[in-house]
Symmetry: C2
Subunit: 360 residues, 2 copies
């Protein structure tokens, strides 16, 4: 699959050039590229430059504004609502997280709900901004509807990820960053390319039957919430996804549920939208708002050590600390480069040709 390997800096330069070419100010282009490259470095290939052409096509349709005037529309000492002016989520969400961190520096914690934004990449990027300041970082976003709530056949929620990140001492941070669906859409694409059936419990048909057909979404099927079915707790996955939707959109004035605008440019948003764009929710809490940072880190390390030493079912597969595989991928890809599948290379070179810049 990965016949092409590119060095981080080259992919970064290319991505910045693309964003600058559509009119993003230099600093915004750098920032947006940084969010995408962070995803590719961490091995979350579905959320990195594989999505670059998607952003550009939404910009072509005038659904993404390359020069947004991002504003704070409502505020208390520790809370705010930000309007992203249809900007790239990759630029709007960093603004929101910076604001949350500033509030936390002054008052202990800061919480920002965001409306009128677009796809923001990986939630973990923002939560880690807080971790670097010895804060606990929280980030979530709603997304285009693909998931049917328990007992229903309608796609009413996105894969709505939530992320919590905690600084540790001698170990890397613990980063819980997860879609609230049983499986993310990217896993379906992998099965499609391999021509393999899905495990039961990931998707259902348009009449609500479990199916192993990796193409079921194309005929009106839907992803299932984490838990897969009622007996195994899918109402919990639905509840978590609903929580993300309410904090990100009902709280900020963005679109929610089935009204979240599609990420793909060939589908138009629904008529009579109840809000503006898509929504995010980010937060930061100072660790030393609760206990001295060194005490906290000492116990984080002890927690990590105890869990890493848990007795494995199979000796060849030890417990994985949340966030660990992504940090290992990052260390490795920073040295060896980032592998891209052929379809992504082709896609990026088409974007380059369209914009009249050099390809990769």
């Amino acid at each position: 699959m990965s016949s092409f390997i590119i060095q981080e800096q080259n992919l970064r330069n290319f991505t910045e050039a693309v964003f600058k070419k559509i009119g993003c100010p230099e600093a915004d282009a750098k920032l947006a590229a940084d969010v995408l490259i962070a995803s590719d470095l961490r091995g979350i290939d579905s959320h990195g430059v594989a999505r670059l052409s998607g952003y550009i096509r939404l910009w072509e349709k005038k659904r993404i504004n390359a020069t947004p005037k991002i504003t704070i529309v409502h505020e208390t000492p520790t809370t705010a609502t930000v309007d992203g002016d249809s900007g790239l989520g990759l630029v709007v969400a960093p603004f929101a997280m910076k604001l949350a961190i500033e509030k936390a520096e002054k008052y202990g914690s800061g919480w920002v709900s965001v409306r009128n934004s677009n796809h923001f990449g990986i939630a973990g990027y923002y939560a880690l901004e807080a971790v670097r300041k010895d804060m606990i970082g929280i980030a979530m976003t709603n997304a285009s509807p693909l998931v049917a709530p328990t007992f229903t056949t309608e796609r009413l929620l996105g894969t709505n990820p939530m992320c919590y990140a905690f600084p540790a001492g001698k170990y890397p941070p613990v980063i819980v960053d997860m879609a609230t669906s049983a499986a993310a859409n990217g896993k379906l694409e992998i099965a499609q390319r391999a021509g393999k059936p899905l495990p039961e419990g990931w998707v259902q048909t348009n009449s609500g039957e479990t199916t192993t057909d990796s193409h079921a979404l194309k005929s009106g099927g839907s992803l299932l919430p984490l838990g897969s079915d009622r007996e195994h707790g899918s109402h919990k996955g639905f509840g978590l996804s609903a929580t993300v939707d309410l904090l990100s959109a009902v709280l900020s004035g963005a679109n929610y549920g089935p009204w979240v605008p599609p990420f793909v440019s060939f589908l138009d948003p629904l008529p009579d939208l109840p809000g503006l764009g898509i929504g995010h929710f980010v937060g930061a809490m100072r660790v030393d708002g609760f206990r001295p940072v060194e005490d906290f880190k000492t116990h984080m390390d002890k927690w990590i050590e105890r869990f890493k030493s848990a007795k494995p079912i199979d000796g060849s597969q030890p417990l994985i600390i949340p966030g660990e595989p992504e940090l290992e991928a990052e260390a490795q890809r920073k040295i060896n480069g980032i592998p891209l599948v052929n379809s992504v290379v082709k896609d990026l070179n088409e974007v380059a040709a369209m914009l009249g810049i050099e390809g990769i």
Copy 2:
């Protein structure tokens, strides 16, 4: 099963009398009873008076302090750590939530981590305190270890519930209140009483194999995280449970992971504990810290209406809004009384006899 029905006020009087008899001040006894009765009213029978004898037995062992001196040990304008002085979680957690709400009233949001506490009943009780003030309420707690993280056979985490509650307008609040395991322990007890096998994916044996044996925990088995297995996202359930543990205990200085003291009095805490008691984490955010309350409630109502009208798989089972079944049970039980199974009646009368007060 429910041959015995008792009116709310009678059960409340009895429960208050029990707490007063062990030495709780009048106000604390009323408060602790209110938390337990709220659970029984809402149909969460496992977390109401069914646990009363458990609290009393821990008090007998001097592991619960009936007259705690609850203190704030660390604080910023919007964050705090509270030490519960080994008090009832049913008294300590209300103190913490009140503090979070006071901070939110002044600064927009408030967050309190709690150490040196005990089992706090249902998370939803605390989150709803915030909802009554037009705030979003958050509550979570760690708990005695019963759940094995993905890939392991060791019980390292509790069923660690998390709750998010949101006020609505003409509809009742949306309350997402969920254990982060695939199934809670109470569901195993129901299967045991009925002599029925469990669905696969709830528990595993002591060697990590899925089993349908409802008694598997008695022979070293463990509950599974939400998601059940790696393929269906159990690493996400593990991540959520870890998040609850870190916010509740590593942040406050309580015990975490396998060191959380058992709720049952016949099991002693492990030696060399890294913290004090069990931990909770509660928070409150003012809705009007983000947008006008009326706007928010209008959109909450629209969200609820849209989801309630979702196309059902089976016409006889419509979508359930999180929190709705509990509110329906409450309305019904306030009128018709609270059903108690015989074993709970017996247990409560044994407690009464032991303390020398009138039974139910």
